[in-house]
Amino acid sequence: MKPMTIADKIIAAAAGVDHVQAGDINTVEVDKLLINYGTTHLTIDMYHKLKNPRIADVSKLVWVVDHNVPCDSPKTAASHKKMRDFAKAHGITFYEGAGVCHQVMMENHVRPGELIFGADSHTCAYGALGAFGTGVGCTDYLYAMVTGKSWVLVPETLRFNLTGRLPEGVYARDLILTIIGQISANGANYMAMEFGGEGLATLTMADRIAICNLCVEAGAKTALMEVDQVALDYLAEHGRTPKHIFKSDEGAKYAQVYDIDLSTIQPIVAKPHFVDNVVPAAECTGVKIDEAFIGSCNNGRIEDLRVAAAVLKGRKVHPLVRLLVVPASQTVYQQALQEGLMEIFMEAGAIVMNANCSVCWGSCQGVIGEGETLISTGTRNFKGRAGHPNSFVYLASAATVAASAVKGEIVTADMLD
């Protein structure tokens, strides 16, 4: 049999066939179906218009209210209520206020080898646990919810061989921004991005989730990492076991192979208005900022909060800057409380908020006004993404964001006095 990649093997298993290759279109059984607040009301409307609406397997559904939590307007409240009522009526696993959907999924649901559809583009984060997560729209979601199935075009795979170790003060965010800058915003369009090599072992689960999560910003359909002891330990700590651990075969066909030496990565900033508009952070020093955001499904984990707290300890946020700290989940929030990190944030003058998508989604808490500049650990810096159409978003690591909040302009942590 021809050698296969991890993506091929997960699709083949979900399709119940022995072999698939890039370009095949397969009908697949979906293992889990995540939806968040963004478009659920559309799915519910369409569902009610069906002749004989039914849910194929309710145990596969996970619904998470995470954008605009708590509600910021009567309109949002109505839309949340619609989702809550539907979930309750059908016995769907439902979270509200627990955190950003992808963090909730990683903590509670994702298993290696699963094929997961999410009505959110950053569903590719699940590759950190060796699961094929892919973003879909609300119609595709409805179809899979009603039939239990969908179709998938088997993607080509880009392989990233990691070696070495990230230098001190350099983070997963810097690595994935470097990669996106290298291959461009559509460099992996329709493709899977697969990560492996000895360097992978040096990356924590938080690093891995951040890397996989952002692959959609290179257009990727999914991201996949080899499942090793780090991943298995995380899974065991969260009380789960793998569905199946797949490894790419020797001689598997890749569209392209990239060798990346982690020790060569440096602090990076993505400038407005594109995620692939990356430069070394040093080139952005001096850019004045109005707001700083540490949070999101990309960088709102305990490891990111520790990094930010280490920078902020004994320092004050610049008087003309708002620093928002938003843990990615309640679990992260509790952990941060226990470790005394929240005290450090409060003493530094940060605004600490409940776990939700916050300004990363450009609605509710923390949106920025005309002409303002935000430095963010969020997922995107598109024009208008964080508020006013004429505003500016820079993306960087939690360390760079925290340091910039202190200085009032973009700096890396090692540049602070």
Binding site: D120, S121, G137, T139, N186, R380, K383
Partner: protein
């Protein structure tokens, strides 16, 4: 030619709270060109560069383009979630990389599905879409196509 038009440009987050797609259409493309939505006429075609529809999976994006009366979008490439969402909503997308250099805003472009694009007397070849996708688009989207298949429409 503009490229990387993301779904937040097509419809900014703050307008997603509006009740209907019709309510959202005046704000289409507003971060880039606030005046554009009012100028779009039924039957118009969008011609764009690479990676059209990148970013968030919000399905309101193709719905709004369709609601504005746009018959098809021609781009050098499309982001994959947007591609699926457009088919599922009955919006025709065509990948072509040659037209952009020749076309100006306001020109007339004629598209013959699964055949070619005609502009200023010149014909541009296009790749065929599989028949099942053409059927979904012709029916007006996946839900309507399934209803038709099940004899409900």
């Amino acid at each position: 030619m503009v490229y990387d038009i993301d779904t937040n440009i097509i419809i900014t987050t703050e307008y997603l709270e509006l009740k209907t797609i019709q309510d959202m259409t005046p704000f289409a493309f507003s971060p880039l060109r606030p005046e554009l939505a009012a100028q779009i006429q039924p039957g118009d075609i969008i011609v764009a560069g690479k990676n059209f529809g990148c970013g968030s999976s919000r399905e309101q994006a193709p719905e709004i383009i369709k609601a504005l009366g746009i018959r098809c979008v021609i781009a050098k490439s499309f982001a994959r979630i947007f591609f699926r969402n457009s088919i599922n909503n009955g919006l025709l997308l065509i990948e072509n990389s040659d037209l952009q250099a020749a076309v100006q805003e306001g020109d007339t472009v004629t598209v013959t599905v699964n055949q070619d694009i005609e502009h200023a007397g010149k014909h541009y070849a296009i790749t065929s879409l599989p028949q099942n996708l053409v059927d979904i688009i012709s029916a007006g989207g996946l839900v309507k196509a399934m209803r038709k298949l099940n004899g409900l429409e």
